[in-house]
């Protein structure tokens, strides 16, 4: 089973050293700007003038472009084609697919939407690649987010590897009792039925034990928690965050004024 449980890639870079909240604010700000600034090329500008250079300076360009090309582009491409064909606007037909027309206008419209979505997903991909989830949560907890809330978020993110580890254990156990898990897919799918029970009901029963286990390690202790990670923050970053907020407000203002 894979050891990678998060998207996070450990590198020593300017981007990695930024405070998690700064990066989160930046991601949100980029998305808002890409969506509301009333200039056609804004999303493309944000992508190539901000996100891509950040991924380079963050030393995660390779991982980022892998995600962008293999995961985001196909999804966004599909969205583009759909919107170009189905959006009933414009006169100038550039492409015909049975009874569906893509017009210059609908293509332009679909392109802008696709670019916006692309920016949205890639901004958060960049954020996830450069931010350790535990650091994000410790930082937010330090700023007053209840620790129970961070626990729920983080442990939800871990459900998949947890389920996977458990499924492996159950499969091993069932196999040792003669359950067929190696022949054809259909046969296996049928035979794996018995796995569902322990996997689901097991989880419910285990909740109690896990609750005791984290209790045994002081989870509900009244003392102020500390964090293994030193999470950097500075006056500069605080100024940067407020500037980003200002930028968001400004963009929204411009959008309202423009329309």
């Amino acid at each position: 089973m894979s050891d990678r449980l998060s998207f996070h890639v450990q590198r020593d870079s300017f981007l990695h050293r930024l405070n998690p909240l700064t990066k989160l604010t930046l991601a949100f700000a980029l998305v808002v700007v890409a969506f509301v600034l009333p200039f056609y090329w804004t999303p493309i500008f944000v992508l190539f003038a901000v996100i891509v250079p950040l991924s380079v300076s963050g030393k995660i360009f390779r991982e980022f472009s892998w995600a962008a090309l293999r995961l985001i582009l196909p999804a966004v491409g599909f969205l583009f084609v759909m919107q170009a064909l189905f959006q009933p606007i414009g006169e100038q037909v550039v492409f015909k697919f049975y009874f569906l027309d893509a017009t210059t206008e609908s293509v332009a419209y679909a392109f802008r939407n696709a670019a916006r979505i692309f920016v949205m997903i890639s901004a958060f991909t960049l954020f996830l690649l450069s931010t350790h989830p535990s650091e994000l949560m410790s930082d937010l907890t330090r700023r007053g987010l209840p620790s129970q809330f961070s626990y729920v978020v983080i442990s939800t993110l871990q459900i998949i590897p947890q389920m996977q580890a458990k499924a492996n254990a159950i499969i091993a156990a069932q196999r040792s009792r003669g359950l067929d898990t190696e022949s054809s897919f259909l046969k296996r799918a049928g035979a794996l039925g018995p796995l569902v029970g322990p996997l689901v009901f097991g989880s419910l029963v285990e909740v109690e034990e896990r609750a005791i286990a984290i209790e045994a390690r002081g989870f509900t202790s009244k003392r102020a928690k500390t964090s293994l990670y030193e999470i950097a923050d500075s006056k500069f970053e605080s100024v940067l965050r407020w500037s980003l907020v200002a930028l968001v407000v400004l963009s929204i203002g411009l959008n309202l004024w423009h329309s």
Partner: protein, 281 residues
């Protein structure tokens, strides 16, 4: 005065009639290493929960008697106060993984973060604990990628790092191979020598005989017998009550029945058995 005092403890889980523990009286000295043995359902885990304060603070139900440790009564403390002094690991290591951490190192640090230990001290203590249980090489792995035995070591380490005065371990080596189990026993022995009080539910009688100070045998929620490991583990009483003891003991007992085993005491380890059987010729 004893460090742990269990007095007339009787406890039944909610909605059950048959008590899981009945009239338990147990005194444990500081720095003593006590092994709990008994068949499945004998009440070992329940006694561990009672020592660790989860009975009655987490598991409700009917409780009589009291548990005292370090001069305080569990019923008079809150659970979080109690767990600062008393550490517990569970039978199933998988359910002890906090689920909130990505590496073993972070997982072990979790408890220290919760009780507000300063960062630099956390790092030092985690390193020490990793060395103690010999799992330094797992530090960067995900807790979910580990084998059951490795997870048990991580679970043990994440409690040890909290430096409890009383360490309660519920079958901590059940998923380990014999060598790994022996290492855990020997690490625990060392901790006891340094003053930690240890209660361990276990089945591996050979290591119990070698490392523990005392054995408490539970049957159907009651203490059947307790005393020095060798005496208890080779006793007829345990044998008559169907306890699974070491095969060396069983073999010698059978040999004694046939008049072959002439030594006064029965063996608990391979070496003793070999010696005794060697003398038969």
């Amino acid at each position: 005065m004893a460090f742990v005092n269990v007095r007339n403890l009787t406890y039944a889980y909610p909605l059950t009639k048959q008590p899981a523990l009945q009239d338990i009286n147990l005194q444990i000295e500081e720095g003593e290493f006590v092994a709990l043995i008994g068949a499945n359902g004998a009440g070992k885990s329940t006694l561990c929960y009672a020592l660790a304060g989860f009975v009655p603070h987490f598991f409700k139900g009917e409780l009589q008697g009291e548990v005292e440790a370090d001069g305080k009564l569990s019923s008079q403390s809150t659970l979080s106060e109690w767990t600062l002094n008393v550490g517990l690991t569970f039978q199933n290591p998988f359910n002890q993984i906090s689920g909130a951490k990505y590496t073993v190192f972070e997982e072990i640090a979790f408890g220290l973060e919760n009780i507000g230990v300063p960062r630099e001290e956390i790092k030092v203590r985690v390193e020490e604990a990793l060395a103690l249980t010999d799992i330094r090489e797992l530090a960067r792995r995900s807790p979910y990628s580990l084998s059951g035995g490795q997870q048990q070591r991580v679970a043990l380490t994440s409690i040890l790092v909290m430096r409890p005065k009383l360490l309660v371990l519920d079958e901590p080596t059940s998923q380990m191979d014999p060598v790994g189990a022996k290492e855990v026993f020997s690490a625990v022995r060392k901790l006891a020598q340094e003053g930690m009080t240890v209660v361990m539910a276990e089945h591996k009688t050979e290591w119990i005989a070698r490392f523990a100070d005392r054995v408490v045998a539970l049957k159907e929620g009651r203490i059947l017998m307790q005393g020095a490991p060798r005496e208890v583990l080779t006793s007829d009483l345990l044998f008559e009550n169907g306890f699974g003891v070491s095969r060396y003991t069983s073999a010698a007992r059978e040999a004694r029945r046939r008049g072959l085993w002439t030594k006064k005491s029965l063996p608990v380890s391979l070496d003793e058995a070999a010696e005794g059987f060697g003398a038969i010729r």
